[in-house]
């Protein structure tokens, strides 16, 4: 039984141009004690997915369909109060740029104690001790608790956010693009902190990112998201090295490798889909070089083969498609 299993999740935004289906029938299994990389391009709904798990969405958005079963309970069936009780105790969040995710006029100590005391029920002294241990665990000098957020560098702010997220020993930490805004060396250091703490504390993590290399470096499992849906999921090795969905294939070839040759990078033509009245059938069909008539009519369902699930009618021909996907000519249609 996985720690978290999401089925048919739908989150819709009310906008002047109509209902935007940011997340539209997403399914995902997250086993306990592993790091899952949720990867996709901007506008694919991955951030909305993360925030939907936390149950804190912008005013214009609401969860329309599906269920989120976490530790055996469907969160969507809980009362608001019940849901709020779980927040940060069982499931916490690390934001992208911690600069505006920390209260600018409060010292870090106050923000840590607030969570430890008000949500964790600790007294002041044990809370302070816990805050100092957490800071040490993420590689920050406890004396920095007395500083304000603007006195921290980018890397240090992310470490502080991680410390904050681990405060109440949650079972799951959702990190939304935690290292995107960081330089490569600091990014590596923060990723190592996350991998080390995850291994030592045995917590589950969802790392939301657009960077395939970061996913390859830090994650055990990978889920690829496109136009509000999970199109492929499995172990990192399976998904990255033996992708079965054309979009994943395209992504791996569009990504330059620092040690790779200078073989031509392959762009995926066309623009990401507008999620107001999405394309019937498979959302990727308009940009997919392997699309057939069926792809434009029917919507493929996630089918799993062993530990590797994919939503594509031609998944069976994956090895042949993979070979074709490596050729730039396959993608250069327009």
């Amino acid at each position: 039984m996985s720690l978290l299993s999401v089925r048919g999740l739908g989150v819709h935004y009310a906008s002047r141009a109509g209902k935007v289906r940011a997340v539209d029938g997403a399914d995902l299994e997250v086993p306990a004690g592993s790091i899952l990389g949720l990867v996709g391009e901007s506008g694919c709904g991955k951030s909305t997915f993360g925030r939907a798990l936390m149950g804190v969405l912008p005013d214009a958005a609401r969860i329309a369909t599906g269920e989120i079963v976490f530790e055996g309970r469907n969160l969507l069936a809980l009362s608001a109060r019940g849901r709020r009780a779980l927040r940060w105790r069982r499931m916490s969040f690390v934001p992208q740029t911690a600069m505006n995710a920390l209260d600018p006029v409060q010292r870090l100590r106050a923000q840590m104690l607030e969570v430890l005391q008000e949500r964790g029920g600790l007294g002041r002294a044990p809370a302070l001790a816990r805050a100092e241990t957490l800071f040490r665990q993420v590689g920050l000098d406890p004396s920095r608790l007395a500083d304000y957020p603007h006195q921290f560098s980018g890397g240090m702010r992310q470490r502080a956010s991680i410390a904050l997220a681990l405060a109440l020993d949650p079972a799951l930490v959702i990190a939304d693009e935690p290292v995107t805004a960081l330089d490569v060396i600091v990014q590596r250091q923060v990723l190592d902190v996350m991998r080390d703490l995850q291994a030592r504390l045995g917590i589950a993590m969802i790392l939301i990112t657009h960077d395939m290399a970061v996913v390859a470096y830090a994650c055990d499992r990978v889920a690829v998201m496109y136009a509000g849906r999970i199109v492929e999921a499995g172990t990192a090795a399976e998904v990255l090295e033996r992708p079965q969905h054309p979009y994943t294939m395209g992504l791996t070839h569009a990504f330059p490798d620092v040690h790779g040759g200078t073989s031509a990078l392959v762009p995926i033509d066309g623009a990401p889909p507008i999620l107001i009245d999405p394309h019937p059938g498979c959302r990727f069909a308009p940009r997919c070089p392997f699309a057939v008539a069926r792809c434009h009519a029917e919507t493929p369902v996630l089918a799993s083969e062993g530990d590797h699930t994919v939503a594509c009618f031609r998944a069976g021909e994956a090895p042949a498609l993979r070979a074709a996907a490596a050729e730039p000519a396959t993608w250069a249609r327009s």
Partner: protein
């Protein structure tokens, strides 16, 4: 063939809230026509300031800049116009690089008007650059406003605007960092094609070594305003000479599960009070630092053919 753009001993110091920030220290470089040079380093290393100095968008505190052999260090205002027509910039953020109130046509016409290109030629030039950046048929795009285009399309317009005055030098500051992965390749290929076909000199600024490897033959690595290493890109990545380059290359993740996850050969983090004065700026984080690094500032000296490094490691005792 003389260098299209060259700089010697460039320096730039800013005064920020009373503190002196040395953004660029003793930078010398030259780029020939048809050559693409990458400048790579973490944020705050001075790579963008260097690019802005070369384009004279900033006044250098010291040093000389020459374009096609002509000294343009002291030029100002209208005198810079001929140089401006020949040296253009591709911006990082396509969503912010076009005047929101101008249509695409007017954005492209602006440089033509400023550089005194006869109106008769405008339509032809606009059509040519639109073809080059594959925004065809151009009529479908020219009368739109920026907010009606996607990131990739906007960046193509930005590139078209840079190419329209017929420049000899293109500087691209993180040209694709704001774009989706699937769209990046398209822009990078356009940049490479434009450079090859038009014989442009190009300077690419980026923190992403993988992208630099894809577009540049030669690369310079900067740290806290200094050039620490300069050489052919592939060699520099596969056999880095400077300890900082070594750490930088090791830190870059690759999109394959099997990769080196050993701890980085570097200590601590970028401090806010960089070590000025004598000695190597990297010494406090360098695992191989020794007495001489403290006593003497290393100079950028050639080693084997075509490579330069600023480090005492390889020197005679």
């Amino acid at each position: 063939m003389s260098a299209v753009i060259a700089a010697e001993g460039l320096e730039k110091t800013f005064r920020v809230q009373g503190r002196e920030v040395r953004a660029v220290q003793d930078v010398s470089l030259s780029v020939k026509a048809g050559e693409a040079v990458g400048i790579v380093g973490e944020s705050g290393c001075g790579k963008t300031t260097t690019a802005r100095l070369l384009l004279r968008l900033e006044e250098p505190t010291a040093g000389r800049i020459t374009y096609d052999g002509q000294d343009i260090t002291a030029l100002r205002g209208r005198a810079l116009l001929p140089f401006r027509a020949r040296a253009q910039l591709v911006f990082q953020n396509p969503f912010d690089a076009l005047n929101p109130r101008f249509t695409i046509r007017r954005a492209l016409a602006e440089p033509l008007r400023n550089f005194g290109i006869p109106v008769a030629e405008h339509d032809a030039r606009i059509e040519a650059v639109m073809q080059r950046v594959r925004l065809t048929p151009s009529a479908a795009w020219l009368d739109r406003h920026p907010h009606e285009l996607s990131g990739g399309q906007l960046q193509r317009v930005v590139l078209a605007r840079a190419l329209i005055p017929g420049p000899k030098l293109i500087v691209a500051d993180e040209p694709v960092s704001m774009l989706d992965v699937s769209v990046r390749a398209g822009i990078l290929n356009l940049l490479r094609a434009a450079r090859d076909e038009l014989g442009l000199a190009a300077i690419y600024i980026s923190h992403d070594l993988a992208l630099i490897r894809y577009v540049c033959e030669r690369t310079m690595v900067m740290y806290l305003g200094w050039i620490v290493e300069d050489g052919p890109t592939a060699e520099l990545i596969e056999q880095p000479l400077h300890p900082y380059t070594r750490a930088l290359v090791a830190a870059v993740p690759v999109p394959r599960v099997e990769q080196d996850r050993a701890p980085l050969p570097i200590r601590g983090a970028l401090s806010d009070k960089p070590l000025h004065g004598v000695g190597c700026a990297f010494r406090d984080r360098c695992p191989l630092a020794f007495a001489r690094c403290e006593a003497e500032t290393p100079l950028l000296r050639p080693t084997t053919t075509g490579r330069r490094v600023a480090c005492h490691l390889g020197e005679a005792a």
